[in-house]
Subunit: 108 residues, 2 copies
Amino acid sequence: MVTLDPRSGYVVLINTFTVQPDKAEELLRILSRATEHGMRHRPGFVSANLHVSRDRRYVTNYAQWSSQADLDAMMSDPAARVHMGEAAAMADSFEPIYYELRQSHSAA
Amino acid sequence: MVTLDPRSGYVVLINTFTVQPDKAEELLRILSRATEHGMRHRPGFVSANLHVSRDRRYVTNYAQWSSQADLDAMMSDPAARVHMGEAAAMADSFEPIYYELRQSHSAA
């Protein structure tokens, strides 16, 4: 189960892909495959959560990693770059932003 | 505890605020207050998760709502718009995108 907890200390990578709406499902499949066969076996990977926007113009991965060092190691690995290149080629653009989760608020 | 689960059927709203880095903490406080005193008491609110980017240029709320109808009701309420206006005034821009969580993958 994927949980959000500011005390985890995870690095959060939110990667927003802008796509043509008719390519949203194919991009989802590419990201899913890359996650199952690559990312989730890497040291420090915690979770990837794949979203499709209501208007199908965005496919967004909310990913958790144990540390920045693990994330940097993945990013500098040519094998990982092949997967990312395949996703990038399907999208019009993408914007990866690195975050710290600071607060979680649940319903009263 | 906040959990991500595609089977929940929640509507996910990812709202990315672009800010001057020296305003990131103040925007975080505004969003935190608006969530505690307003949003979390509303019908259909599930969670708000406030992130600050590593470069402090983005403050992003990953919010879960039970249904689009609940989210629409909040959006059309003038009291909620006051809170959102205060946050928007602190930011250079903001981009709310509505999503469905389609897949969650955890570490192998």
